[in-house]
Symmetry: C2
DNA sequence: TTTTTTGTTGATTGACGAGTCAATAAACTT
DNA sequence: AAGTTTATTGACTCGTCAATCAACAAAAAA
């Protein structure tokens, strides 16, 4: 039954299945067979398209970070003042697409993978750098010289909220997450209008 | 050459070796044999004392959290005002004993383990609860009703700084970590003396 | 229509690793 | 001295899993 042009569809299905499988298992110790089954194909085909388990993981990680970037960009599109743009970056960080159980859990696991795998490390670095640079850029006109320090704090807090959401029993609460970070922003902007 | 009373020594050696091995590997995918070798014994003996790899991990996790608790308590001992106690909790969180490469990496990995393992989950929960309760207690006289919210933010930020330290290339920088968190505290206490 | 390219899988290989066991030995008890 | 408890390990079992391969099928190209 080979329909041509299957490759991109299969790849996408595998990436999706990887995030789901890793997210559900809460661990990278999932088998290629599990992922492939979820994606509706044999493990041999998964290997055929990606070559190795490592590459499957990296593709999934890229997908997560790409989605994240898209959400932030989307949130930024409607904001024009520095403060609203700053809040938009934060809101984008906790957007529905990214801020869901399996995605958060998968993200955490890929974070761990970055300790071992140089490519994963690089990917995460790029994300962190871009986030901080975005934050700093909007913070500059708001808090001046302190922009650098505040951007670091904000970045750390966002990651912290993520990691805690991964451990929570109940479904991740977007508004709760936003409250925590926005409260910090409120304080920082206070008296510097 | 069996000297009696070896059990506690062997257990401690295994726990230490576990943290080192997991920390260095940056992953829980280490073998019992590796851990045992590092601790200077056969893998059979490790199984003899702990029963399973899972139990070895849990013991190591307990050790990390116990050390962490001790550091915070130590830092608190010399502080008496609410603010100095608050700063002490933070300083204790990044104390030399806990805030080192392998320990941070091991901690992150155990964090992931808590997604799968109920006991690990419980342990981490206890730590989080205690930290937040400590923070809230000192914050109450400082920021009143906002204590709850600030404690959450601080807790998240501390975890965030940890997770980022795990990914940094260079050795974890205690002062840098402290700066980030203390800056946040400065802001929160501003205007509420 | 033969050939090539693309898609697909069941079966197999080869490695690795958790946990068990039987055996050995030194201490301690009676 | 005989028996028991504690310490210790090499060798083995048994399962799992990533990766490969041979083979088959259908579309496209020749």
């Amino acid at each position: 039954m080979p329909k041509l042009g299957a490759e991109p569809i299969r790849r996408a299905a595998l990436v999706k299945a990887t995030i789901e499988t890793v997210g559900e298992a809460g661990s990278l110790e999932v088998t290629v067979a599990q992922i492939a089954r979820r994606a509706g194909m044999s493990s041999a085909l998964a290997h055929h398209y990606f070559g190795s388990k490592e590459q499957i993981f990296l593709a999934a990680m890229r997908a997560i970070l790409t989605l994240y970037g898209a959400e932030v960009r989307g949130a930024l599109a409607t904001a024009d003042t520095p403060e609203s743009r700053l809040r938009a970056i934060v809101a984008g960080s906790f957007a529905q697409g990214s801020f869901r159980r399996e995605t958060i859990s998968a993200w955490l696991n890929f974070y761990v993978l970055a300790q071992t795998n140089p490519q994963a490390h690089r990917l995460l670095r790029i994300y962190q750098r871009r986030l901080r640079s975005n934050l700093r850029h909007e913070l500059r006109p708001l808090v001046g010289a302190r922009a650098q320090a505040v951007a670091r704090g904000l970045g750390a807090m966002i990651d912290g909220v993520y990691i805690r959401a991964a451990l929570a029993d109940d479904a991740p609460d977007r508004d709760y997450a936003l409250d925590i970070v926005n409260e910090y922003i409120d304080r920082e902007l206070e008296g510097t209008p």
